[in-house]
Amino acid sequence: MVFEPFEDENDLEDLDARLSDPDPAIRRVAVMGLADTADPDAIPLIARAVADSSADVRLQAAIALGEFDGLEAATALCQALQDTDSKVSKTAADSLAELKDPKSADPLLALTNHEDAKVREGALLGLKQLRRPDALANGIEGMKDPVTAVRIQAVGVVGYLKAEEALPALIASCRDDDPEVRRTAVGALAFSKSSHARDALLTALMDEHWAVREIAAEVLGKISTTGDGGPLIPLLDDPYWQVRVKAVRSLGKLKVTAAVAKIGAQLEEQTSNLRKEAAAALGEIADRSALPFLEDLVDDPDPDVRKNVRWALGQIE
């Protein structure tokens, strides 16, 4: 028997009836139809499909719930997050990350202590963008989790909340064994102006992993005051150009005149992005000692570099 496509997407009754069909493919298409209605009344019907016997239908329900928001959708997604099929639980986690209504956080808060690490990770991922202040304790607790992926998401939850009381936990995570946790924690310090955060960033500038040094250089540029970028100068000798780019950018922003010669040396680098940023930084510092470096580069093969060189020369002259 060939089913006709849904002519009236708002016919919830028809879709509800198809959800009980013995054929899982028909149930799956019914879930797709329910998502297409964008009608909040469809959420309880899709939630029913989360408990379907077919993993394909449950997967479609997890995708469909991502089209909705609010407590009811979040509760159903939390159920899908605990699904035994890894594809369903992964999809539910992705859908949870799309939630925007702070009320959706209620069922998620209860899952941050779940025995399954994937569930804890998914719950924290969902909580991140919801920015619920009462998620702070769950986030701080998650930062001590034995599973790295959970700690990364927990740092994200705490970082999004930008709470000064979480500073000691964030600083502790800057010393985590995993570089991705350290990178996320260092990035999360950007909201704080405290000396403790600054000390942690200065330590992170010497981290063994380049991605941590890169984010530390960027964050330090954001929280420091003009002229106060001296500790960034040694980073201009970093073996990774990605780190040097961020250091150059921050040094320009902070107008560190003492760095002009070393920034000028970056103009000889092969990476054109680095030359471009170095030229911009010299323009921001606007010190006359940068003129010889910039004048050598007015005919650079990269048009973006030439543009920044001309702008920088204009700033100085």
Binding site: F3, D23, A25, I26, R28, A30, M32, Q60
Partner: protein, 77 residues
């Protein structure tokens, strides 16, 4: 638009074993910007009716059962 008389040589190939168009799914037909896909009256499955394709890929990406394959010509890859 030229009618696709020989389905095996067209760029958009539908695996009839996986396609659930006969259960009511119309995703690939709905997303195609050139409207070249149809549901067969005979089999109930999706197929490429018109041999015209921009290789924009949503039919392949959005198919819930991974039944659609778009064969991109070598020189466009």
């Amino acid at each position: 638009m030229p009618i696709a008389n020989t389905p095996t040589t067209v760029p958009v190939v539908v695996d009839e074993g996986k396609c659930i168009a006969d259960k009511g799914c119309t995703v690939c037909v709905d997303v195609c910007p050139l409207d070249v896909l149809r549901i067969s009256d005979l089999t109930g499955k999706a197929y490429m009716k018109y041999d015209e394709c921009w290789y924009c890929m949503p039919c392949e990406a959005d198919c819930p059962t991974d039944a659609v394959t778009v064969n991109i010509p070598y020189l466009l890859r």
